[in-house]
């Protein structure tokens, strides 16, 4: 219910703003021109890396409390074969006009990220993985939310291309990200 509601919210934004996103609010698996070369180069041949076209990324919703929000992104393997993901996602924020928004995004630390370390996540056909972002909702000095964001641009280690995930939020200050983990559970 919560997921559906969130996806609905994002859908309106996605329609006019994120050119590569589908109307259903799911990620575009369109591999953009850049191939994430360094990531791809580090992908060991021993891993059967996931292919961008077979992955679906979408927001699984937010959990907000006292000025801090956790935004979870769900990854689904839509292929008939198992594949692997690993490491931290590469993230950029996109404004409503599609331009890149400056942001400081780094690996999360502290209690919320305790016990999380980058490791290989094996995805069977239809299985899900996820990662999450943590950010402040507003500037404590002014009480105002940050600049509006309309989408996340996501790169996954070893997966060529970039995903665009519609996500309407307004973070302030640095953002913390988790590594990719198995399952689509909440943080």
């Amino acid at each position: 219910m919560r997921t559906k509601r969130t996806a609905g919210r994002f859908a309106a934004v996605a329609a006019g703003i994120i050119a590569v996103a589908s109307a259903a609010g799911v990620v575009s698996a369109t591999a953009l021109a850049r191939t994430g070369g360094s990531h791809a180069a580090r992908t060991a041949a021993t891993h059967h890396a996931c292919q961008a076209a077979t992955l679906r990324l979408r927001s699984a919703g937010t959990d907000t409390g006292a000025g801090t929000t956790v935004l979870t992104i769900m990854i689904t393997n839509r292929s008939a074969a198992a594949c692997s993901l690993q490491g931290y996602p590469g993230l950029r924020l996109a404004r409503p006009d599609g331009s890149a928004a400056p942001a400081r995004i780094g690996p999360g630390r502290g209690a919320l990220f305790a016990g999380m370390s980058p490791r290989e996540v094996r995805l069977r056909p239809g299985a899900q993985a996820s990662f999450f972002l943590v950010y402040r909702d507003f500037n404590p000095r002014t009480g105002r939310p940050g600049a509006p964001i309309a989408a996340l641009r996501v790169r996954l280690l070893g997966v060529p291309g970039q995903f665009t995930v519609p996500a309407r939020f307004a973070p302030f200050g640095p953002l913390s990200v988790s590594p990719v983990r198995a399952g689509a559970g909440r943080e």
Partner: protein, 299 residues
């Protein structure tokens, strides 16, 4: 100090000189007053939601910031929220469903409160949705507020579990934030009706729990546009002046470098301004003014 005395001794300083120096140090120790702790004037440091927890692993528990000597004086977590409502969690219950409720931190704050008389203990907040997102209930604004109040109070009592988990700071906070999101549209009157519905439900339930609000001066003004006055509601502000990372840590709601920016017609000295939140690094901290007539359970 012991190290210095030993070094002087090795160099062969006359015993009389050592004695004079020791006397001067002792004299200085007696004439320079120790810095007053915020707790001494009733302002207790605490934390909320996902972090931080206490600095130490055994009672009494200490605050992990603002220098030494500060007790872990309170914890306020997400007891539930409209954003947690789902088919598997129809009442939006928080514990076990959110990053923003940590039972260990709540227990530490309660131990300090009940066993040692430090601070205010645990309390909870509900993440409130505005009239534009009613979790599919289709309720009117006021009824939607009442429904959320009902869920919130039920979540509080579910966690309390006839005293299994105590909640001595008996203020049920409404977390109101982000204009334009979470159902908060531009109709201030309708937004206020949600608040009123929640407030009325919790108050009329007569369970010894009083309603409060967490917000910022700016956001409260925008969301409740034209309907902001709340002179009889407990307030917890997240808006501070001057610095996000105050140094030194504040010892009250106001100092020369920063102050808590309350809202709804109340100020720092108003009877119902209870707490403020600020950030230090990546963690949020809070301070609770126990000089105010807080609804506290002490036994």
């Amino acid at each position: 100090m012991a190290t210095r005395a030993s070094r002087i001794g090795r160099r062969g300083a006359p015993p009389a000189l050592v004695g004079v120096l020791a006397s001067l140090i002792l004299l200085a120790g007696t004439t320079v007053p120790a810095p007053a702790l915020a707790e001494s004037s009733g302002f207790w440091y605490g934390a909320d939601s996902g972090a931080p927890g206490p600095a130490n692993g055994s009672a009494p528990y200490n605050e992990p910031s603002c220098g030494t000597g500060h007790r872990y004086g309170g914890y306020i977590g997400k007891i539930g929220g409209a954003d947690l409502v789902s088919s598997t969690n129809p009442g939006g219950y928080g514990p076990g469903h959110t990053f923003a409720w940590n039972p260990a931190y709540a227990a530490a704050a309660n131990t300090n409160h009940f066993r040692f008389g430090y601070g205010a203990g645990a309390s909870g907040y509900w993440f409130l949705f505005g009239p534009g997102d009613t979790d599919g209930t289709g309720l009117s604004a006021k009824a939607w507020g009442g429904q959320q109040g009902k869920w919130a109070l039920a979540a509080w009592q579910r966690w309390y579990d006839d005293g299994a988990h105590r909640m001595p700071l008996r203020i049920l906070w409404m977390d109101v934030e982000v204009p334009g999101s979470y159902g908060w549209g531009s109709n201030g009157a309708a937004n206020r009706e949600v608040f009123n519905g929640f407030w009325n439900y919790v108050t009329r339930a007569d369970e010894g729990i009083q309603p409060g609000v967490y917000s910022t001066n700016y956001q409260w003004g925008v969301i409740m546009s034209g309907h902001t006055s709340i002179p009889h509601t407990w307030e917890w502000t997240a808006q501070v002046s001057v610095a996000n990372d105050p140094a030194p840590c504040p010892v009250s709601f106001s100092s020369s470098r920063q102050f808590a920016d309350f809202y709804g017609g109340q100020g720092q000295d108003s009877q119902h301004t209870a707490m403020w939140q600020w950030s230090l690094g990546s963690a949020d901290y809070d301070q609770i003014d126990t000089n105010k007539p807080l609804p506290l359970t002490v036994h």
